[in-house]
Subunit: 193 residues, 2 copies
């Protein structure tokens, strides 16, 4: 049975401890230990929505959470911000951000005088789509030609089904052509949104 992902975002109860944030007194400690601002209703809705969307592509929940948080937050967030607000592990936050970055779904922002890297969500559909196509679809099409010729050369020409098999190979070749045309088209179309 094909995969189906759960979608509810229900980290509800877990609120941290620690005390309110005082302005930059003891270097880092205060920053690290101040409780993260709880998510707003808009952020919660947004996170839930993107868990759903990314889930439709069979991507892990943590990636949907991270993108949803950045999407719904105006200011750039650091890895620690993301980690604390979503209550993710450091590892998940790091990997998730790295993956989103490599796809181009998240932008790195350098803030003057602040060392931590900060991130914002990329919302241009063109960039999102082409990143996804580049990283997750194109790689499967690339070795297409070699696979196709492998398939073709596996045909036993003496067999009575050789003709049938050749037609199948032709079928697949047609599919590749389709993708060769459709993918660029999608990019162009996405550019308008």
């Amino acid at each position: 049975m094909p995969p189906v992902k759960k979608t509810a975002f229900t980290k509800g109860g877990s609120l941290s401890e620690k005390k309110p944030k005082a302005p930059q007194a003891s270097r880092e400690a205060n920053l690290e230990l101040s409780p993260p601002p709880p998510l707003t209703a808009f952020q919660l809705e947004s996170v839930a929505l993107f868990i759903h969307v990314f889930g439709a592509l069979s991507l892990p929940r943590s990636i949907g959470e991270i993108y949803g948080l950045l999407f719904s937050t105006q200011d750039p967030l650091s890895l620690d911000d993301v980690q604390a607000r979503l209550q993710l592990s450091r590892g998940s936050a790091s990997e998730g951000l790295r993956w989103l970055r490599s796809l181009g779904a998240v932008n790195q922002v350098y803030l003057a005088g602040i060392r931590k890297e900060h991130f914002t969500a990329e919302t241009s559909l063109r960039k999102l789509a082409s990143g996804y196509l580049r990283d997750r679809i194109a790689p499967h099409l690339e070795n297409g030609p070699s696979r196709l010729s492998g398939l073709e050369s596996s045909i036993d020409l003496a067999s009575p089904t050789a003709h049938f098999e050749k037609s199948r190979v032709g079928q697949i070749a047609g599919w590749y052509k389709f993708f060769g045309k459709a993918l660029p088209l999608v990019k162009v179309l996405a550019g308008k949104f």
Copy 2:
């Protein structure tokens, strides 16, 4: 880290307790128990290729195997044929075929005088694409509008970020429009292959 599926078709070492059951007297039984014809090179290549392709969509290996076998086989195959040739369990074969059928990727064939249902692969890209879009993509877009209005109503209008949040909602609305236009276009394009 995003999902990555193994792709090698390596049932080779299945040295399990495949007892070479003694040929039975019953005429029917002979059919069932006769060892399935081993896969041809073309079929093996094909199965491997479709495990890969379906894997790119995060679909289970068994589904790729089944489609690959049917794709590379001229004659219609029954559930038992599929099960025996791929060494799948009955359950997997049944569920996999059912799923492929519901998608429209596999056609049911009724053979005169033969009771078992038989199946062939559907190779029309238009049918494959629209089945996939209908079953796996469209459902996620359907509750889009309600999600969108949920998101919109979660905006705290008093907040200083309300304007930003409204623009995000607008962004998502644009994405939905894109899909509304792109999906039909894909179907049309796929019709030519």
